[in-house]
Subunit: 210 residues, 2 copies
Amino acid sequence: MTEAPRPLRRTEIRRENEKIILSAAEKVFAEAGFGGATMQLIADMAGLPKANLHYYFATKEDLYRRVVRDIFEIWLKAAETFDNAPGPVEGIGAYIDAKMEISRRHPDGSKVWASEVMHGAPVIQDYLETTLRDWTEGRIAVIQRWIDAGLMAPVDPRHLLYMLWATTQHYADFGHQIETLNGGRPLSDRQWKAAKDSVKTIILRGIGAV
Amino acid sequence: MTEAPRPLRRTEIRRENEKIILSAAEKVFAEAGFGGATMQLIADMAGLPKANLHYYFATKEDLYRRVVRDIFEIWLKAAETFDNAPGPVEGIGAYIDAKMEISRRHPDGSKVWASEVMHGAPVIQDYLETTLRDWTEGRIAVIQRWIDAGLMAPVDPRHLLYMLWATTQHYADFGHQIETLNGGRPLSDRQWKAAKDSVKTIILRGIGAV
DNA sequence: TTCTTTCCTGACCATATGGTCAGACATGGA
DNA sequence: TCCATGTCTGACCATATGGTCAGGAAAGAA
């Protein structure tokens, strides 16, 4: 599982192993929560001895912190689609597309994030108060500008943002429920497209942008 | 904290203590997750010795199961507003109101439910496959009838339901994030009303019902 | 080769946790 | 009053878990 076909350089070893561990940790934290996850489980999933995890990450909390922050980065990057958009149809439409894609490709990350926030954000509270708050204020201003320009109906930008987060992340966080209601099968390509279209249609019409 | 001002009758004792324990358990499970919650923590919050919890609930999992099922009941009851409605404006409008109210009054319950589903629903999988699935199919039929009657636009009923769940529950599950973005203060009465109105306005217009 | 640095890991430890149990205590019916 | 039943709890136990550490292996510089 983790046999190295070719010998790795010193610098590569660290990067490679951290990647493997972080990937395993993301999955385990998502499935079991911080409290339910054990270093042994993560080690097994990574195919490494437990002591080796502690060589790269001093404590379980350090490892968890890294996982959450990495997710936050991905999540913020997708938000760039918001800028440089001429109006809500393009800006919000692209944002929904991007966030739905993340829900599909990184469901575990989304779950860890949700779990962290639900438990009071003990680890990333500072991020919420700085980066996230700043980003939110910025986007609110953008939406308000669109409203002032008559490009969409005068809805509360803040609650619109919450709605976008809630709706898109729901497909990751509650993926298991959705799968169960889909007869136990994961959504197909076609069904994912239908989901995206439904969300975009309802919200864009809901804010009077189409 | 738990001093009984008046002596309780035998039958009352059990009911009363179970209520206290379930209430404490809901809060602790919501804050720490199943894995992070400890019987000792729940006992302290309930003001009872740990051994007493085990007298009423054999195992931690039994206690957790009861908490999740109780939430499910509340959650289903709110869904009754859906029926007997002449059209989407009344039916979905009332459903949003009811679910937003639950998010406000029972945020812990909502979190426990979310956590359970996120971890693959190990405890209530059967509920998802029976009760929830049946309920969902029923509501899809109602929405489809409204569409056929020309009372709303032809959106995918299933994804509309997901959107309703996601948006309303977001205010409970991500309450901490919302509070942080609100300057660290919980939403006021006025802000809750604004939230409700925003959700209702966008969704009802989004499905072409107004 | 020699030496330094980094990487690796089996064995170990202190602690926390879910759960048990014997026996005390209270209640209420006969 | 006596007894059966239900309630309560301190003390205890087996186990699991996060974390440590000494010492060995490999890599690369000199």
